[in-house]
């Protein structure tokens, strides 16, 4: 069995310290009773209580979740279709343009995506609000979904689908009962990625949002510009907590499904 040399152990320790200490400080100081965020004055949960009573933050959080759920679901459907078109579509008119457009938003600076979408919405006279943020987010996140889904589609054995068709399935049934279960992990991963990206996005949302549709990142950004505040620390702690639980649960689920699949394969033999 391999063992870590002292050099590798130190570089891992330093690396993870660099990644985690800033977040740890944020979490610890969210329980600080002082308004001064860099001076410890005793344990308190008062910032959480204050946060819970802050209507503006709660409302922004609600808008953000709404946008994230709608846009990531739309992006998952569109992204899966786009992946299908690229992997299974064969030749069609403007294929190069199509795959170029699918990948471009991945490397496009957010300020440009935001600017161009805002100019479009102004050009067609669309009122800025939840709707415009949803549309903007689908364009960003569907690309991530199609990258994740197409990598799964490429590796998947097409003859399974053909067998289902030969056995009398309609193409839709074949998709539902053969293809979908196989690509499901990638579709779910794509949805989660889209959801997180949408929750996290500040730049594009600040371009295309209207006065009535402030998302949480926009709200955090405008209050952070005035300086560090313990309330934001509390909010960050909650968000870090949710992500941590999510990632741990996801990794346990994958571990279990891998173990189950291994068991099934053993049983099948």
């Amino acid at each position: 069995m391999k063992r870590l040399s002292w050099f590798n152990a130190t570089s891992l320790a330093f690396g993870f310290a660099f990644l985690y200490i800033p977040m740890l400080i944020l979490v610890i100081y969210s329980f600080n009773s002082s308004k001064l965020v860099t001076v410890w004055a005793g344990f308190s949960t008062k910032w959480y209580v204050e946060l819970a009573g802050n209507e503006a933050f709660l409302e922004a959080a609600w808008v953000t979740i709404k946008v994230a759920v709608i846009s990531s679901t739309l992006a998952t459907v569109l992204g899966t279709m786009a992946a299908y078109a690229m992997v299974r579509g064969g030749r069609f008119f403007g294929r190069t343009l199509f795959s170029g457009m699918v990948y471009a938003p991945l490397v496009m600076p957010e300020v440009i995506t935001g600017l161009s979408l805002l100019l479009l919405f102004i050009g067609i006279g669309m009122d800025r609000g939840v709707m415009t943020i949803v549309l903007a987010h689908t364009i960003l996140t569907m690309c991530y979904v199609s990258v994740v889904v197409s990598s799964r589609l490429v590796s998947f054995d097409r003859s399974l689908e053909e067998a289902a068709l030969d056995l009398g399935c309609t193409p839709f049934d074949a998709f539902r009962s053969v293809t979908l279960p196989i690509i499901a992990p990638a579709v779910i991963a794509g949805w989660l990625l889209a959801f997180t990206l949408s929750l996290d996005d500040l730049v594009i949302a600040s371009f295309v949002s209207g006065p009535s549709s402030t998302t949480l990142p926009i709200k955090i950004f405008s209050s952070v510009r005035l300086g560090v505040s313990p309330e934001i620390n509390a909010l960050s702690t909650i968000m870090i907590g949710i992500v941590t639980i999510g990632v741990i649960v996801a990794s346990l689920v994958t571990k279990r499904s891998v173990a189950m699949r291994a068991k099934q394969e053993r049983d099948a033999e």
């Binding site: 069995m1 391999k2 870590l4 040399s5 590798n8 570089s11 891992l12 690396g15 993870f16 660099f18 990644l19 800033p22 977040m23 400080i25 944020l26 100081y29 965020v37 860099t38 569109l78 992204g79 279709m81 078109a85 579509g89 069609f92 199509f98 457009m101 699918v102 490397v107 600076p109 957010e110 300020v111 440009i112 600017l115 100019l119 479009l120 102004i122 050009g123 549309l135 903007a136 689908t138 364009i139 309609t170 193409p171 996290d200 500040l202 730049v203 990142p217 955090i220 952070v224 510009r225 300086g227 560090v228 934001i232 960050s236 968000m239 870090i240 992500v243 999510g246 990632v247 741990i248």
Partner: protein
């Protein structure tokens, strides 16, 4: 033609929907907006709503279209070239992005190397620890550094306590802070591709090099680095490309003297309300990005060929 007997028309319809819907969506929300940016970049600033000229008037037909075309020019681009604010902003963005990429590699490589050398049963946990910050809000991770780097911040408290400095250092609102912020937030993008390359590396190759008389360090430079090259290149581009147009980090951690092109673009658009210049800034930024993006694509292509 259709061996499943469901009719060619149905098949055509399905194909049309699967390809057509995402296609139209991308054309409407990616291609057209980009063409609008391009068009406004060639227009003139005007005090009206919307604040640029010419406006295309469809009612005037072909004559109107010709008049519209002839009113477009490259004036905004000559303006960008003549005003050294923009030059400096592009250069300073390039510099900050390059330095950040270098430090991300310097810090990220040992982490990836350590992960690839760790016992097998540790790897999923280490992987999770790298991915976790990636799922955590980008904004919050940047925000965390304000409290660390400010004059009364934790880093200065620590430095003064340890006696390394007597007066607090000015770190926040400088380019140093921006670089730290970029390295911190983009570090997972460096670690993951490098780790993926190192993990595939066959240990027996290094052993062979050592048996043939290489020292450990020689084997590292002559075997490990060349084999991990594509992962390193991918990681560098994944840090460099997004940090070039970065807006959030320079506006939170940088000061008034921090010039980064993403910030200039936003200020030009929202503060000066100069849409044509903001659009021209965007077009030039994209032109600069094309080179690293094409290089990145070619690297990925090569990687796929190697993987077979």
């Amino acid at each position: 033609m259709d061996r499943h007997g469901r009719g060619g028309a149905g098949r055509m319809m399905r194909r049309l929907v699967v390809i057509g819907v995402p296609y139209l969506w991308l054309v409407a929300l990616f291609l057209i907006p980009f063409l609008i940016v391009l068009k406004i970049a060639l227009s003139d600033t005007n005090l009206s709503i919307p604040p640029y000229l010419p406006q295309l008037d469809i009612a005037e037909g072909w004559v109107g279209f010709k008049a519209f075309l002839s009113a477009l020019d490259f004036e905004n681009f000559t303006f960008l070239a003549s005003d050294d604010l923009y030059w400096k902003a592009y250069l300073s963005s390039l510099k900050i992005a390059t330095v950040s990429t270098f430090f991300a590699l310097l810090i990220g490589f040992p982490i990836a190397y350590g992960m690839a050398r760790a016992p097998d049963h540790w790897r999923p946990t280490l992987m999770m620890l790298i991915i976790l910050p990636f799922w955590t809000s980008f904004l919050i991770r940047t925000y965390a550094w304000i409290g660390i780097l400010s004059t009364e911040g934790f880093l200065n408290q620590f430095l003064i306590w340890s006696g390394l400095v007597t007066d607090p250092l000015t770190l926040l609102n400088t380019n140093v802070a921006v670089t730290i912020g970029i390295v911190y937030t983009y570090l997972p993008f460096m670690v993951l591709p490098v780790y993926a390359a190192l993990e595939k590396l066959d240990d027996s190759l290094i052993e062979a090099a050592e048996d043939l008389g290489c020292t450990r360090i020689q084997a590292f430079w002559m075997v490990t680095i060349p084999l991990a090259k594509q992962g390193i290149i991918a990681g560098c581009f994944l840090v460099f490309i997004p940090s070039l147009g970065e807006f959030v980090i320079p506006s939170l951690l940088g000061g008034s003297s921090t010039l980064m092109i993403g910030k200039v673009l936003v200020e030009e658009f929202f503060t000066n309300r100069d849409w044509p210049v903001a659009s021209a800034v965007a077009v030039v930024l994209l032109l600069i990005l094309i080179i690293p993006i094409v290089l990145f694509q070619r690297n990925e292509q090569k990687q796929r060929e190697v993987d077979g």
